[in-house]
């Protein structure tokens, strides 16, 4: 028996999907800003071996990079209330994404910082640049420029990984897809449309990050 494709039940709920996509983008935006911020702090502490924070961040990075995202998320949402810390599903989702991206970006940015030739720092000193200027123009910006493609990819991964947040009832895109599928049982059509939306979002974010990199990080030297 041939399957009768019917996209009408999915298209009737397209507002739910778009709303979910909006929430996914918002989650990703907040997660990226805070996560990369955390990553920069971690990278500096790790690159300069500032005690005791470098060890602390080392443990954090290993802990997060070697455990599944969904387990981290469940721990925050279902586990922490036992210690009296109760977060809503949105707070838990953002926190999990920040912690996750923070760990990965720490290592990515640290690699960028450590790839800066030592002579470049000496040159900055010879030019009498202040510590802040040196850090901003000689360390951070060239470091980010070097690892920008890797960092962009990690941000996309986190955006796609946010699909898992539907498991704690966060109503992002995957939640909307699962919800629609549970009502009309049109799995193929629902997930096909959802896949295309994710694909479009990933391409959009990649273009946006590429533009941002050219405009503010790699271009302006």
């Amino acid at each position: 028996m041939a399957y009768q494709f019917d996209f009408i039940p999915v298209l009737q709920n397209v507002d739910l999907l778009l709303q979910g996509a909006g929430f996914t983008l918002a989650l990703t935006a907040v997660g990226t800003l805070l996560g990369v911020g955390l990553g920069i702090i971690g990278a500096v502490l790790r690159a300069w071996r500032i005690k005791p924070f470098n060890t602390l961040f080392g443990v954090y990075v290993e802990l997060i990079r070697n455990t599944p995202f969904i387990v981290q998320l469940f721990f925050i949402f279902f586990g922490l209330p036992a210690l009296g810390v109760r977060l809503t599903e949105w707070e838990a989702a953002v926190l999990a994404m920040v912690i996750n991206l923070g760990a990965y970006s720490t290592e990515i940015i640290r690699a960028g910082i450590q790839a800066i030739p030592h002579g470049q720092l000496e040159a900055a000193a010879a030019l009498a640049m202040s510590r802040v200027e040196t850090f901003r123009y000689v360390v951070l910006r060239p470091a980010l420029a070097k690892v920008w493609p890797a960092l962009s990819s990690q941000i996309i991964i986190v955006m796609l990984g946010s699909a898992v947040c539907s498991q704690i009832s966060t109503e992002e895109l995957s939640f909307a897809a699962n919800f629609i599928q549970s009502r009309n049982f049109r799995a193929f059509e629902t997930y096909l449309v959802t896949t295309l939306i994710y694909l479009a979002m990933a391409i959009l974010i990649r273009q946006l990050l590429a533009w941002f990199g050219r405009r503010f990080i790699q271009g302006a030297r």
């Binding site: 209330p81 539907s166 704690i168 009832s169 599928q181 549970s182």
Partner: protein
Amino acid sequence: MTLTPRRLLTALFASLAIGVSPAFADGLADITERGVLKVAVPQDFPPFGSVGPDMKPRGLDIDAAQLLADKLAVKLELTPVNSTNRIPFLTTGKVDLVISSLGKNPEREAVIDFSAAYAPFYLGVFGPDDAAITSLDDLDGKTISVTRGSIEDIELSKVAPKGATLKRFEDNNSTIAAYLSNQVDLIASGNVVMVAIAERNPKRVPVMKLKLKDSPVYVGVNKNETALLDKVNAIIAAGKADGSLNAVSEKWLKQPLPADL
């Protein structure tokens, strides 16, 4: 004597006639004469019926069957069945009764008769003892965890007020975890699921607040077995009156028998 097809057929019909005739007799009289009550029970549906650590069937349905056998003053013989073969076991006369968490519906009523209900089975909204929820309107402003796509999700989505927040989870375990970790105020599920919670976390057992869908369970009896059906009904009524059925419900469902059952 050679076995011609004609003779074979005659013999077959003769044996059929002998074999069939007791089925039209009084099932109740047969049971008392035999001294054994044969009951079909589930073995894969706790708390109604499962296999205990001693490899013997145990559960609400088994206790209910034992109650009936005791009142009939006969021995009990259990036949494990599943939800697809339980009615055929009854209609082909392999068992006298089906006590297998059997719900009533028109299709089944066309084939067999049902006794009075002996245990509750329903979907509802459950919550802590002190939550003041008496009507659907009270759900306003509350968060309720529910398993996405389940019957309770569909039913609750239809009737919940706008101010109620339904948090939909992937499976029963997440739905329960959300309730137990205080992430939601209430939980929508079945009374059987509440038993699972009671076993794991007896301190926060949710109590019934609102009923969404009611489907109590009945004893299945063959058609035209009026005497047996009347007797079963009498025993169930007596069991409700003297509290013995209530004790069975308390034991397996951790809740008293509803008054309107």
